[in-house]
Symmetry: C2
Subunit: 394 residues, 2 copies
């Protein structure tokens, strides 16, 4: 940020979203915009329309004059209000990215995303340094998958986990109150079980039987069916909670949709439907499969207040870090859970998170179908703690 030709001392900033949205990604955007306005040191607030695609096309939206009440609505608006994309930038794209940054005289660039986006951030920063640009590049973490390294957890995960935990509990109550079928619930997370594990909360909030399967542990179908039969026989109902990415012993997904897309590729998915079919065919027990899918990342009523608060703060902290002249960093969260949950933010080099993936700890998976309390010690504060207390009369 220097005195520019036009005599204005303020900074121009650019925010972009990358990859799949979360229920609170817009809240981080709100944090950036409101902190920028409060600082009195930001001139123009730009946002890339549809993420990397907007940057490459030079298609930026000017949010500088958007009314405060519209910005405030971002907290209750799911998905990406500025648009996102799945395009992964290649080496050939980076010069075009810098062109846009120069054209709009951007002083600070904020990229809100997961692993891939942090990699992009890192490369933009390296190129800016190489070209002697005075650009601050800050990554804002976001992923419901919770797989970013260094940070205790990712904004977006707490809300997706809360959705999984409470939705599973509600389904479990349905399954046990009218126990005519085994209900199978499919949750998001193709490679990592973080969100599906949160669904195991149903066994803690209800009296319904529950079995939970994550992609980290290969599933033996015969054993799964035997376990389902045994738990269902107890008569308290049964909810089977599965990650969409659950695999068999051969490492291949249990199911595909049976659909070949327009490009000739078999479309993966339908794990819950497949298991449900096996329950009916092999056990002769009625079953139905539910798959809320993307609703697990865009449902505002299930947003965790803790997650929402932190999502806002990482946005604000990113802006303030840029004002201090920081660059090449991602905002990360440090948390303590005893005697009560507290978190604080810090910066960590983009290079350390760009190509790393935090795995779900295998020791938190018990007998292949239960989740250890240690996971809930970790995750409950992120989900917001104020879980429903149900009436049990039977």
């Amino acid at each position: 940020m220097e005195k520019r030709e036009d005599g204005i001392m303020g900074m121009n900033i650019l925010v972009a979203h990358g990859g799949g949205p979360t229920a609170v990604i817009n809240t981080s955007l709100q944090g950036v915009v409101e902190a920028a306005r409060a600082s009195g040191r930001v001139d123009k607030i730009y946002a890339a329309r549809f993420g990397a695609e907007g940057i490459l096309k030079g298609d930026l939206m000017d949010l500088t004059e958007v009314p405060a009440e519209v910005i405030a609505r971002l907290r209750h608006t799911p998905a990406s209000a500025i648009g996102s994309c799945r395009r992964k930038l290649t080496q050939d794209d980076y010069p075009t990215v810098l062109e846009t940054i120069k054209k709009f005289k951007i002083d600070a660039f904020f990229y809100n995303g997961g692993n891939d986006s942090m990699d992009t951030c890192n490369k933009v920063n390296e190129l800016a340094v190489k070209e002697g640009l005075n650009l601050s590049v800050i990554g804002i973490p976001k992923t419901m998958d919770n797989d970013l390294e260094v940070t205790d957890h990712c904004p977006g995960f707490g809300s997706a986990a809360r959705y999984a935990a409470i939705s599973a509990s509600e389904l479990a109550l349905d399954a046990s109150g009218l126990p005519i079928h085994v209900v199978v619930l499919e949750l998001m997370g193709r490679n990592a079980g973080w969100v599906t594990a949160a669904g195991a909360m149903a066994r803690r909030l209800t009296r319904c039987g529950q079995l939970t399967y994550l992609p980290e542990v290969p599933v033996d179908m015969d054993r799964m069916l035997a376990d389902i039969e045994a738990v269902y026989a107890k008569g308290n109902g049964l909810l089977v909670t599965v990650s969409e990415g659950v695999c068999g012993p051969d490492g291949k997904p249990l199911a595909d949709t049976g659909i070949v897309d327009g490009f000739g590729h078999v479309v993966p998915g339908g794990t819950a439907q497949y298991i449900s079919g096996q329950i009916m065919q092999k056990l002769g027990i009625k079953s139905r499969a539910e798959k809320p899918g993307l609703l697990g990342r865009c449902s505002i009523p299930y947003v965790s207040p803790v997650d929402s608060g932190e999502a806002y703060e990482v946005g604000r902290y990113a802006l303030e870090s840029a004002l201090r002249g920081e660059s090449g960093q991602m905002v990360a969260i440090e948390a303590v859970r005893r005697p009560q949950y507290r978190s604080r933010l810090f910066l960590t080099p983009l290079s350390g998170v760009a190509n790393a993936e935090k795995r779900f700890p295998l020791e938190w998976i018990v007998d292949g179908n239960q989740i250890d309390d240690a996971f809930f010690d970790y995750a409950k504060p992120l989900m917001g703690e104020d879980f429903p207390q149900y009436a049990f009369l039977r």
Copy 2:
């Protein structure tokens, strides 16, 4: 209610649930129990464990001493807290029903359910009259399907509609913020489009393209695909909202799961997945299908406050009607919508609702894929009106 041998002046009451639950069926139970306690005229409060099955087995729970704070939690407990079943009573069962009623000295019987339950109610009442039993039989309406006659609407529908409307809007924001695929959302209602129609709210709350298909209008797949291609091409994203029971021109469901159950029957379902597959195969456009299924009837955060309030009142009104000596009636709702929504309760003979079905008006379906404003004039007040206002920045 007479002075019995034991010298107690109070009534003994029995509540039972029939069929699929809703998000507010327990709220009606709360209404009955709290009104019974407030009246000072009820001795024993019984509930049938798992509905008709509990009645036939004489398996009643005594709720008389359940703490008030547990009863209050019913308002936030989805599904049936006393248990329900799908068993339809036959002529042979009714004598056994009366045995239980005599054994527990029941003075008033409340059956909370849909068409089938009102039929049961009616038959129990006729038999009681025939046998000279001093029994008050009152039906409490409940169905997310909204297909009961006489009553303006059914408790349970408003919340299922609110779930459909807001979930669809949230998915539409996701589909338009990251427009890499057509999202197909399957909603409940095998024979009637009431709930799926509410999902058409997304076109009103967001800027995403939307097409909506109800079971009332047979679908021509070629035309559907042409419409999908045309709306998707506009570039604002596309949400296709379908009822699970959508049929082709031959009157057969568009899809089945491809699963044969343990009894050799093909399991219906997978409508959204089928349409999604057609979009990929025939149009070469990426697509994904979501099916929240039972979540649409058991999600507490999406409960309509209007629906919740009315569900409570129908329970209370049922109890008070029995105290007045009414029998053979169902509680029904009369509503006015101008200048603002108001409703009041009244009694209607069970015989008039027992075997009738309220159909979705065909004139509310426009071009086979849009829902007329007249439906929303009818349904919006029931959903609670306070719809989210989203931030639109693009």
